[in-house]
Symmetry: C2
């Protein structure tokens, strides 16, 4: 069994880096705060006897040697970056659970056959730099390195520049090595486990996602003397699409989610009719066919907005992450761990994307979910209990050890 | 007759300060560019023999002495600040027309009975600092000085701080002196004169305006695992209101205008359900009763959005500028000038607010409009012809001289 108090203390210590007024964390990818948190993690890993490697995407691997250190490792981990108004469990819980597994194995002087590595994947959130899971995507060969390093934030700074700036542009090749298995522990970020009163979610896979960037262009004009009937108001067009995206989410139930998370209006002046609006669309569904249908519906709504309001548009799909099914053996290892420990557990499909989604393309993969309060994540009030955190970490320990010895 | 070439050259010279790629101007109130343009104007006025006074709101008065300099002056003028994507005529045309009147009187060695002053009113646009026409409002006693100086831009900088920073916090008391008459020349900023093929608009008054600031608050949550039915999406609520504002504009024809010009979404992250949205509403109508009805309709739409989407709201009216009727004698002076010069002219109601609206509370006031291309303003492509600029200035000259000698 892991040390739940130690895991909790590490979570709370880490949560100080980027702490926000409402009890959350703002630790955007590749900011100084991200660096500070990475430094602390590496410090803790070195104290636990690990060796550290960093690759060209800034992914960190903290390694505990195996009996046969030439064998492919079992890797676990998640991410350190957060949303602008993020919580203190999303991502970092999976990273520190990995560390706690190593600390616990050290306490027990337990040697696994294969090496175990704790990974920190760069920019999982996709908030500062889109898309999400970009560095685990490069690791898995889904994106090439150049694509990964050239992702830019809204101010134009690239991941490559920012990795160099914070000193995390490592020397290692990205990916291109065998991974025996990958496990990721994470808070659920939704309400299902809590509603079903379960401690452990045995994650079977993840729903698919499609991300879009849309620019609607009309014509700036004076809000006072410009008659309603001659206006080309880009924001009125964008509002039409925001409303439609929401309806498309509701009309593709069960499971569909559809969100406009980001919108930037130009020139954004009180008495000027908006001339152009940029916004993003995030669509999710576990079935690829429904996801595609939703995408077509959004596009049709944007075309309708253009026709009704005299606008032109640039409509781009910038990311497609297909539905994922995890490895049967790894899922079984998670299930077995939960059963042996006597936790109430249930199978679950992840609503969010995770680095595990991309890892599953190059290694047998599974995930462990624990509940979060009211199902709330990507919010400063995100919360989880010490007991659930320890429970998830216990299951992770068993699944890792089972695979590392198999 | 004024010198139309000289007026045009001055307009083009001034348009270099803050020039944008698409041929417009970005010269936000109290920025370094505003200072540069003010400095140039003062330079030109001194060369034309004027004395300069600057008041505590940064309003500039360039004075040409009258035969009896103890008499109250006739003032003309407008503003130097622009929209973020503004044109090279809005405001500055009225300022430089005033200067051209003085230059022409100098050329003719013509002495008026009363002194003539060219005024530059600070922050007319209301874009960087809301509301519009704030410094002419303080001059007219509509706002007190403290209110004027404490207006803040989105980054929190106040007009008082920024006036001090650019060296335009002058020593003079604001207002509190007699003004014999006020005239303002301006581009129409709408399509009426062009559609009616008229050179001169004899402005009878201006429609009323009401400005609002609205914050809708929901709950941030993850765009992936958060079911549609439990969401409190502030942007979906805002989209409802944006759509409603546009409909309210259309349903209160003739004359009504209704615009959401500014919107800021938080946390503005692609995969986070928006937790709060700030936006502005600009309502206009020449009849006060209709304007009030429109305001009530907007409020009802915002309340509906809150109910439908589980949001709370902060709904504030931040500015009310009632419909204005200009002084019969001053309007007659403009009409007479246009008639004597043989221009096609028509009476018109201003769709925009102008410093003249506030001046009309403390002095007999009127305005001269000239057409602008396609009725487009608050846009970098804003345009007017050299001939129309000269025509408006000629009318201004006659109206000013008539009042300054009366
Ligand atoms: N776990 C998580 O918040 N991932 C971010 C990517 C996504 O939006 O699904
Ligand atoms: N003339 C002008 O653009 N004024 C700004 C105030 C308004 O929006 O009416």
């Amino acid at each position: 069994k892991v040390n739940g108090d130690r895991l909790w203390d590490s979570l709370m210590e880490m949560a100080k880096i980027g702490a926000t007024a409402k009890g959350g964390v703002c630790r955007l990818a590749l900011t100084d705060l991200d660096r500070e948190a990475r430094d602390l993690f590496i410090d803790w890993c070195r104290q636990a006897g690990c060796t550290i490697k960093i690759d060209k995407m800034g992914n960190i691997f903290a390694r505990r040697a195996g009996k046969d250190d030439s064998l492919a490792p079992v890797i676990t981990g998640s991410h350190i970056d957060s949303q602008p108004t993020g919580g203190k469990f999303d991502g970092i819980y999976g990273v520190l659970s990995g560390l706690e597994v190593i600390r616990s194995l050290n306490d027990l002087k337990y040697e696994t056959n294969r090496p175990i590595e704790v990974a920190v994947w760069t920019n999982e959130e996709g908030s500062r730099f889109a898309p999400a899971m970009v560095a685990s995507g490069v690791f898995a060969g889904v994106f090439d390195l150049e694509y990964g390093l050239s992702r830019a934030d809204p101010s134009g700074k690239t991941m490559g520049e920012e990795l160099a700036r914070i000193g995390y542009a490592g020397p290692e090749e990205v990916g291109k090595r065998e991974v025996h298995a990958f496990f990721e522990a994470h808070i659920e970020q939704g309400p299902i486990l809590e509603n079903e009163k379960k401690t452990i979610g045995i994650v079977q896979g993840a729903q698919g996602q499609r991300w879009f960037e849309v620019v609607l262009t009309g014509q700036e004009a004076h809000a006072g003397p410009t008659p309603m009937k001659v206006r080309k108001d880009a924001l009125v067009g964008a509002a039409h699409v925001v409303t439609a995206v929401n309806k498309i989410g509701h009309s593709n139930q069960p499971f569909a989610c559809a969100t406009v998370g980001m919108i930037t209006n130009s020139p954004n002046s009180r008495n000027t009719i908006p001339g152009s609006v940029f916004f993003t669309v995030d669509l999710r569904h576990p079935e690829d066919a429904v996801l595609s249908k939703m995408a077509a519906e959004v596009k049709a709504a944007a075309e309708e907005a253009c026709q009704q309001h005299g606008l032109s548009m640039d409509f781009k799909e910038i990311w497609y992450s297909p539905p994922v099914k995890f490895d049967a053996n790894c899922v079984a290892a998670v299930k077995k761990g939960a059963e042996e420990l006597g936790f109430d557990a249930m199978p679950i499909i992840s609503g969010a994307g995770h680095d595990a989604c991309y890892l599953s393309r190059v290694a047998p993969t599974a995930m462990v979910f624990i509940p979060c309060e009211d199902g709330i994540s990507h919010n400063e009030i995100e919360n989880a209990t010490k007991g659930d955190c320890a429970a998830g970490c216990d299951v992770l320990l068993r699944a890792i050890v089972e695979r590392a010895n198999a």
